[in-house]
């Protein structure tokens, strides 16, 4: 029986580890400035934790087999522990865990402690059951007022976020269901929701942030590769949670300006 335990535990361990090493399934391609750092730290953590995982499982299987009861096996040792060992493995795991944490903290700080750069592309993201809307402030750089009583999700577009068209600042505001941003320029997001909590997740940008009703949460990221990237909701928001997704289009600056100008023209 000891041998069977060893074989099964080792098999499970090696097969699982194979799929991690082969990267059969892995993080999607990173396309933001912070992705490389996050992925690098992910790999570091993965290697260290992988070693601990394999070592512990291999030892478990090995001990089960080696110390199985049999006619010829030695009597069990009468020992109650070893304080030196306890201290050694306590200190080692503490260094490993806390060390990992400190290594990654600078990435978190860069992501969340500083505000967006002055020249960042401003986009307001509004989540609602079950769609995302993106608003651009237009040439005046100012978002116009919105009013809760004007919100009509079924009408879509400007009405979905309750844009108050009598406010002069809202005259040039663009509301879109697809998110356009220029490449290699920081994007400042202002996340809002007006019903339940949603979470805005762009896997390729390594970006995730909840949109909470009553709060306007400022975040930023910098896309570094042109392309179409899916985004989706990752906070349970009701029956349509699974289909609350859309596309982020990262385009060149010229194409972005062209798109914005066309939308402005449509609006006038």
């Amino acid at each position: 029986m000891g041998l069977v335990v060893l074989i099964v535990i080792w098999l499970i361990t090696f097969v699982s580890t194979y799929f991690f090493i082969a990267k059969t399934w892995w993080l999607p391609m990173g396309a933001s400035a912070s992705a490389a750092g996050i992925d690098h730290h992910f790999t570091t953590t993965y290697i260290l934790m992988g070693i601990v995982f394999v070592a512990a499982q291999v030892a478990l299987g090995l001990f089960a087999w080696k110390y199985r009861e049999g006619n010829s096996s030695a009597p069990a040792r009468y020992i109650h522990g070893n304080n030196t060992l306890e201290i050694v493995w306590t200190v080692l795991t503490a260094i490993l865990f806390i060390g990992l944490n400190l290594m990654s903290s600078s990435i978190w700080a860069a992501e969340r402690f500083r505000p967006a750069e002055a020249g960042a592309t401003k986009v307001e993201v509004t989540g609602m059951q079950f769609a995302w809307y993106f608003r651009y402030p237009g040439p005046d750089g100012k978002f116009g007022a919105t009013k809760p009583e004007l919100i009509d999700a079924s009408a879509g577009g400007e009405s979905a976020i309750g844009l108050d068209t009598t406010d002069p600042a809202s005259k040039d505001d663009i509301v879109s269901g697809t998110m356009y941003v220029p490449v290699n320029r920081e994007v400042e997001l202002i996340l809002r929701s007006h019903d339940v909590i949603h979470s805005f997740f762009i896997p390729n940008m390594r970006f995730k942030q909840d949109a909470v009703p009553g709060l306007a949460i400022h975040m930023h990221f910098t896309p570094i590769a042109i392309g179409d990237y899916p985004f989706t909701c990752t906070e349970l928001c009701g029956l349509g949670h699974y289909k609350m997704n859309g596309t982020l289009k990262v385009v060149s600056q010229e194409e972005y300006d062209k798109w914005l100008a066309a939308r402005e023209a449509e609006k006038q």
């Binding site: 000891g2 499970i12 699982s16 059969t24 399934w25 892995w26 993080l27 999607p28 730290h41 953590t45 934790m49 601990v52 995982f53 512990a56 499982q57 478990l60 110390y67 199985r68 009861e69 009597p75 069990a76 040792r77 009468y78 020992i79 109650h80 522990g81 493995w89 306590t90 795991t93 865990f97 990992l100 944490n101 990654s104 978190w108 992501e111 402690f113 609602m128 809760p148 919100i151 999700a153 079924s154 019903d195 339940v196 909590i197 979470s199 997740f201 896997p203 909840d210 909470v212 009703p213 009553g214 899916p230 989706t232 990752t234 349970l236 029956l239 349509g240 949670h241 699974y242 289909k243």
Partner: protein
């Protein structure tokens, strides 16, 4: 002190009841109450498992038409998610290890005749039972069961127009949770008092089996955590029904402005996770204690580092209250506080690692007997390691960005909190069944059950890590709407088939359980040659546990293979002195 202890002993002694109702229904006997909790959890685990099966079927055959149930609509899927989580966490993982086995064996293992407060004990079970009925009734009201997940984040859980199921179903859900908290609080008080005041002569705290330490620490966590959840639940009920705005700011649903102003959705998350994270340890600590016990018994070796085990559990308990924010890294909470929560969370991995090292240390140099309780204990260690290893990923806010609310998290907590503690429940069942029912369970069936469950569990949850890394979000009823999820469907199909097999294997367990009660081989008083007090008394134990006398304890709980001793184990009650260590 001695006289007070004596008085407490005297106060609770009650005559054995004669009628069926007082003996089996409204019983004051901790052993009967333990069994009641256990069978409540057994029915709950099958309900929970059935719900998960429906989810797995729907995920890979979204258009399947099920007999009796018809199509699973998106709202029904999220209701299944909610009820599966709630029933499993509260009515299985909190109920069986503590209410079930803790109730039955804590008094016996410390040499007491009953719990300190038998009437409160009875009440706590019946309140829990009522909570369970209220929870199940949510399926049958207009709109059906709630769809806000077991975490019940407002505004989704606070505004009836947020979706079907958020009407009366959600009210019943909150009421059930509140009732459950009341039962759990009473039970926690009882466990703490019993452990502190009812120990037999010679049963010092440091001679208690690690199971008792685990139940004791779990009870302290319960006392501190359930009070907070109860208050949070009452505030949520007020928001839902009395027009208050604790959790709900100004919101708009279907074009209608809802009459709340200025509440904070994050307040609920703080209160909920202040309970919710200790709850993880409430579920797992009893399994840790039991696993320590079994690894020692069946390696025929003293537990490696008894004191280190106790201190590790105490520090897990203490630190468990300082890490709740790691559930909220993406919530909009102040990013600076993520630093503190992250460091504390990484630190709590240290005592967990210490426990694993000590289990391995106990196996090392032992003489291992591979009976079914030991197989489940070894399975527990393996699952605990696997589930624990993914913790440091999620504990670092940087890595939590891609992984938060994906299947990676589902994999992590199912392994460490779900299946690992279920393995604890199975191990406890196979280990204590002979004491509880006077018969042995069938060993061949038990092993079959183990191998299917152990391998099956890995086949279900290991692939979820891969799916999560690839970006598969949790709680999605279909993978057809988001393009990149389609390539993960084969992986999910594999998981669903693994779930079929694993769930089917659980019927082997149920069959074995009931068949062995009737037809199992008669058990001796100490079939495992173990040392703790429950094995010194008759099988099954008499009403007052020790048949009129109170045991006196001379030894620690894990004296196996003592050199020079006549047998390879020395009972806790053996007066023969054990070499000082």
């Amino acid at each position: 002190m001695a006289t007070r202890e004596f008085a407490a002993h005297e106060a609770h002694v009650h005559a054995a009841p004669q009628g069926f109702i007082r003996k089996w229904v409204f019983s004051l006997d901790h052993k009967v109450i333990g069994l009641q909790y256990y069978f409540l959890a057994l029915t709950a685990v099958f309900v929970g498992m059935f719900l998960s099966l429906l989810m797995r079927i729907h995920l890979i055959w979204p258009t399947a038409h099920l007999p009796m149930l018809g199509d699973i609509k998106p709202e029904m899927y999220v209701s299944l998610v909610t009820m599966h989580g709630t029933i499993m966490v509260f009515f299985v993982l909190t109920t069986a290890p503590q209410g079930g086995f803790g109730n039955y064996f804590l008094p016996i293992q410390i040499g007491a005749a009953d719990m300190a407060f038998p009437v409160i004990n009875m009440l706590s079970f019946w309140v829990t039972f009522l909570a369970y009925l209220v929870m199940l009734s949510a399926f049958f009201v207009t709109g059906g069961a709630p769809l806000h997940g077991w975490t019940g984040y407002p505004p989704l859980s606070a505004v009836p127009s947020a979706g079907p199921g958020e009407g009366p179903g959600a009210d019943l859900w909150v009421i059930s949770i509140a009732l459950f908290c009341i039962g759990a609080l009473m039970s926690a008080l009882n466990f703490i008092t019993t452990t502190l005041d009812m120990r037999a002569k010679g049963m010092t705290l440091m001679r208690m089996p690690l199971t008792c330490w685990a139940w004791f620490i779990t009870a302290i966590l319960g006392l501190l955590a359930f009070g907070v959840l109860l208050s949070a639940g009452i505030l949520l009920l007020l928001d839902r029904n009395a027009g208050t705005s604790f959790y709900v700011p100004l919101t708009v649903f279907s074009g209608q402005v809802v009459g709340h102003r200025g509440g904070s959705p994050l307040l609920w998350q703080h209160l909920f996770w202040f309970f919710g994270h200790p709850e993880v340890y409430i579920a797992i600590l009893p399994a840790m204690g039991l696993c320590s016990q079994l690894v020692s018994v069946f390696s025929r070796k003293p537990i490696f580092g008894y004191k280190a085990m106790v201190y590790a559990m105490l520090s897990i308990g203490l630190m468990g209250f300082m890490v709740w924010g790691h559930h909220m890294f993406m919530s909009g909470m102040n990013p600076y506080s993520a630093f503190a929560f992250s460091i504390m969370t990484m630190a709590i991995g240290v005592p967990s690692a210490i426990k694993t090292f000590n289990w391995l240390g106990t196996l090392w140099g032992g003489r291992i007997r591979f009976v079914s309780p030991m197989l489940f204990a070894i399975g527990f260690v393996s699952l605990f390691v696997t589930g624990g290893i993914s913790g440091p990923f999620l504990a670092q806010p940087t890595l939590d960005i891609p992984l938060h609310d994906t299947a990676f998290v589902t994999a992590h907590f199912h392994l460490i909190m779900g299946v690992a503690s279920i393995f604890g429940i199975f191990a406890a069942t196979y280990y204590w069944f002979p004491k509880m029912f006077g018969r042995m369970m069938n060993e061949r069936l038990a092993r079959l059950h183990f191998w299917f469950t152990f391998v099956g569990t890995y086949c279900i949850f290991m692939p979820m890590h891969y799916a999560g890394m690839a970006g598969q979000p949790r709680r999605y009823s279909q993978f057809t709407e988001l393009h990149y999820l389609e390539k993960l469907i084969p992986l999910n199909t594999f998981i669903t088939f693994a779930a079929f097999v694993t769930i089917a294997a659980q019927f082997i367990f149920v069959f074995n359980l009931f068949w062995s009660m009737k037809a199992g081989k008669k058990a001796s008083d100490n079939p495992w040659e173990a040392t703790t007090l429950e094995w010194t008394t008759a099988t099954p134990p008499p009403h007052d546990n020790f048949g009129g006398h109170t045991p006196v304890v001379y030894n620690g709980p894990y004296e196996y293979s003592v050199p020079g001793a006549p047998r390879d184990y020395v009972m806790q009650t053996d007066p023969a002195t054990v070499a000082a260590h």
